[in-house]
Each structure stands twice: as C-alpha cells, then as structure tokens.
C-alpha cells in the first residue's frame, strides 16, 4: 500500500533549476529510501522540498495529501526533517530544546506525557546521560543525535534524514540507522535518508535513488541501482559490486575514474 508518491518533482533557486523530473520509488509503510549522490547533486534540496521548507512543482503525495497550501499544516504535522547541521552549540540543554520544540509545535501532550516521550527518545538515542548538559559541551556526534531526537519528537509519518550519520563514529552510525529501522518496524511510517556511505545505504534501505546534477540516474531496489556502471556515471569511480553470502550487496570502491570531460 503506497503512502508516499513523488512524480516529476522540480525545484530551483531563482532562475537556476536544481531538481528536474524527479520520480522516486513509491514508499509503503515501514519502508526506507536512501538518496545517494555526490555533493551538490540536489539531495538536500530534495529533502527540503519534501519537508515543504522549499517550494516544488510536480506530484508529491503523502497519504493522499497533496501540495496545496491548505494542507500545509497537516503536511508539517506528518513530516519531520533532521537537518544536515546539528543543533547549535549554545548553553541550552537537549532537554530544554526538545521541550521548547514540542511546545512550539503545539503538540497536544500534557507535561507528564511529553516528559515521558522525551525520556524514551533520549533512552533510544543514548542521550540520557547528557540530557541536562549544555549543548556546547557535547561533541558534534552527540549534537547530531540531538538533531535526530528533535525530529522524532512529533512521531512523524515521514522522517527525512539529511546525512544523519556524517558526524558519528562507526558504532553510532549503525545504532542510529538501527534505531530508525526499528522505529519503522514497530511504529510504522517511512524514512528517507540522504547518505554518503553506500554500504550503509545498501544495508538499511529498501529502495535507493541515485542522483546526479539534479536528476535521477537510477532508482529501485539496491541490487538494481548499485551497479558498477551506475556508480561510474554518478560518482566517477570504478567499483566492484558483489553479492554477499547473506544475499546483501557489497560495494568495493577501487579508484577514481579519469576525468575525460
């Protein structure tokens, strides 16, 4: 049962067109889509279109909800984005930031309910020990986790993650993506993540979309998308793609391709 459909999405800044003809694989409940592509390929812009922070044309439909202005509030209530940059290192405590975000969003929760929800999210993201420490004393990775916690506060149907693991070390990358997957399995909903790490994307995502210069080069199940030819086109690297014994895909990047213009 499809919940999110994106067809022919286009967006730009002024005269410059940044995204064109974007068709994404349809997402059903519990599914996760990974966006892969080099820097400036339009991943972040696509994310911002999906969160409605940025205007886009084309068909974007979530549970039958379209892009009309009237549905904007309901859209925002269903979708939460975790921006690429972690929360600023101020003297604010993660707990206060969570609390004020929830209150600014007008979440209909009593103080006790909100407290419990925040505590549960901090527990899952491993932030409990630093929940009352000023943000400026936290490492970049921890602050990134706070960013994820903030996106989870309204229990969104669609979770948008822009490079959610860029500041995290190996273990926490896995923990974060496990957390997201686990949430999808247990509570339903969908996630779209812009990722740099191809292996992680192949492992955690049901669908992948390869972006290059604002266009989709390939989209579908990881095994179809991650081919040596596609990787060469999009990333200009020579790669070896093999199937692991457990059926997953392993990608070995070999060397950069010569730039032939």
């Amino acid at each position: 049962m499809t919940r999110l459909r994106v067809r022919g999405l286009a967006a730009g800044y002024g005269q410059t067109e940044v995204l064109r003809d974007i068709d994404l694989p349809d997402l059903a409940d519990g599914q996760m889509l990974g966006l892969l592509g080099p820097n400036a390929s339009g991943k972040s812009t696509l994310m911002r279109c999906l969160s409605r922070e940025k205007r886009a044309t084309g068909l974007i439909e979530l549970d039958g909800l379209g892009q009309d202005r009237a549905g904007s509030r309901r859209w925002r209530a269903k979708v939460a984005a975790m921006p690429q940059s972690p929360p600023a290192p101020s003297a604010l405590m993660p707990m206060e930031l969570m609390w004020s975000t929830a209150r600014a969003l007008d979440l209909a929760l009593s103080d006790a309910e909100l407290g419990r929800r925040i505590e549960a999210i901090f527990e899952a993201t491993g932030l409990l020990p630093v929940a009352l420490a000023p943000l400026h004393t936290l490492s970049g990775g921890k602050r990134q986790l706070v960013g994820l916690a903030l996106a989870l506060i309204r229990e969104p149907d669609l979770l948008l993650l822009d490079e959610p693991t860029s500041a995290l070390d190996l273990r926490w990358r896995l923990v974060v993506l496990d957390l997201v997957r686990d949430r999808l399995t247990r509570q339903g909903g969908m996630a779209i993540a812009a990722l740099h790490d191809i292996d992680l994307a192949a492992r955690y995502c049901d669908h992948l979309a390869l972006l290059s210069r604002g266009r989709i080069v390939a989209a579908g199940p990881p095994a179809e998308v991650l081919t040596a030819a596609n990787l060469a086109t999009v990333f200009q690297v020579a790669a070896e793609v093999s199937t692991r014994p457990d059926g997953g895909i392993a990608v070995h990047i070999l060397h950069p391709l010569r730039d032939d213009g």
Binding site: A80, P83, S85, M95, L97, T101, L105, G115, F122, L128
Partner: protein, 349 residues
Amino acid sequence: MTDGDPSLQRRFAAIRKRRWFILGLLGAGLLGCLWLDLMAGPAGLSAEQIVLGLFDPHGLELRHRIILWQVRLPDALIALAVGAALGLAGVETQTILDNPLASPFTLGVSSAAALGASIAIVLVPVLPLLPEAAMLPAMALVFALGAGVLVLVIVHYAGGGRETVVLFGISLVFLCNALTAALHYVADADSSQQIVFWTIGNLTKAGWPEVWIVAACLILILPFSLRQVWLLTLLRGGEAHARSVGIDVARLRFWGILRASILAAFAVCFVGTIAFIGLVGPHIARLLLGEDHRLLVPGSALCGALILSAASFLSKALLPGVIVPVGILTAIVGVPMLLGLLIGRRRQA
C-alpha cells in the same frame, strides 16, 4: 547523584524550580534596590517618612511630599522601566540575531536617538514656536524609530539574513555618530555641552508622564515577547533546526526586531543613551537562569531594571550632594556583576 539516579524529569524539574527561585530572588533584589534608590538623596527623608508618604502622601509635610512624589519616585520608577525595556530589547536582539554582542545599540537605535536629540538641541532654539522640552524627546523618539524602520526594511530585503542586519545596524551607528559630530562642530559651547550631557544619559529629568509612557510601552510589548518564548528558545538550537521544524525564521526576526526597536526607542528618548544595559542585562540573566526563554525573557528585563536601579542609587549615594549622571555608572555597576558571575561560573566548572 549519589542517591541513585532520579528520573530525568525529576532532575529537570529540580533545575527549573531552582531557576524560578533565582528569578524570584532577582525580583526581591529589585525591590531592595528600589528601596535604596528611594532612600538615597540629600533631603534626609527617613525610612518611616518614605513608607508613610507612599501610602498616605498627605501625611507628609509639603516639602517632603514633593521630594518623594515629584523627584524620587519618578526617578526611581523610570530607572526600572527603562532598565527593563533595555534588558528585554537586548535579549530579543541577541537571540534573534544569534549574536551575543548584539544589543539595541548595534541596531543603530540609540545613535539615531542621540542624533535626533542633538538636532533638537542645536536647531530648536533657532526655530520659533516649538516647545523645547517636548521637542527633545520627540525628536529622539522619531529618529530612533526611524532607525528601527530602516533596519526592518533591510531585514525584509535581506530575507532575514542576520549578518546583513548587524552590519547595517553598525553602519547606521557610524553614520549617526558622524552627523552628531557634525552638529557638535557647528553648535555653540552651550549646546555642545547639552548634547554631551544627553548622550551620557540621566534619569533626573523624568517626571510621571515619562514614567507612564515607558512603562506602558513595556507592558504592551512584554506579552508579545512572552508569547514567543518557545520559538525563541527553539531558535537557540540554530536557524537550520528552526527552519526544519517549519518556523518562519525571517518573520520571527522581523517581529523581534520591531519589538526591540520600539522598546529601545522609548527607553532612550527621555533619559538619553544609557549604554550597556541592553548588552549585559541579558548576559547576566543567561548566566543565572540558562537559555530557556520562559525564564530568560522576564529575567533579562529584571536584570536590566536591577542594574539601572542600582546605578540610580549609586548616582545619588556616591558623592554626597552631587548626582552623577546615571549613564556613567551603568557600566561601573554592570561590569563587576558580570565578572563576578563569570568567575563564579569558572570556579564551579
């Protein structure tokens, strides 16, 4: 945390409670300062006479009644109103521009007020038919609000870009200072001295109408600031975070700067450019109360009022028989307070 590990919510509640308590202490401190301020002065009014005079003005002899009701009370109350307005304007500017060095003064509001006042001082005696006493604050107010409008136009066209706003505000400061200097240059010695005296800032010229106007401005604007406390707190998590949550940051910035400009304009137009409170009041509040704007917004207003009230007391108590302009004392009072807190914080850490 030796007694086991109490739940996160309990610890959070304890922190909040402590901070509300500190806010209460600030309020109590403010009342204390107000009392000292009322007591200070050369007329030798006793504490009983003041208490009696506050509740039953006609029980005092005329001379004392005039001193208490026409001199000390307006001076002491305008210190509270102006200090609170500047503290509030300061915290809004700092949060909204995400700049710890920002204050209503970096927006150019006070320099514009000084320019307006200078024009009034130099030109008004030349022009007939205009009442000088009303012209000075009116010109200061008009110029200060004008600076605010200019900044808002820039905010609008810069799409809310905060560096542009600060850069423009500081340019405005330089421009106004240059024009004020030009007026100094053409003015006679008497006017020049008046300008200098005005720009130092002093409370003694204020009467009840001024008190009511500044207080009304504060009372009208404070609820709007308080309605934004969640958004302002959230903004401390950074602009990207606020945007991702769906907050219209440019709009928030526009209204915040509008509020701060109005507050600062009304605060300085009667008493001169009392520097420093808009900058340091919020910092002192932040060190005491943290970044939660539910506490920080009222806390900054309280700290601003507290500094100015303490300075007002000192301005009368420091040299017997002489009233030092209060603008000279705000920094002398505020810097030690800030340093004390910073050093205390260092020790704790």
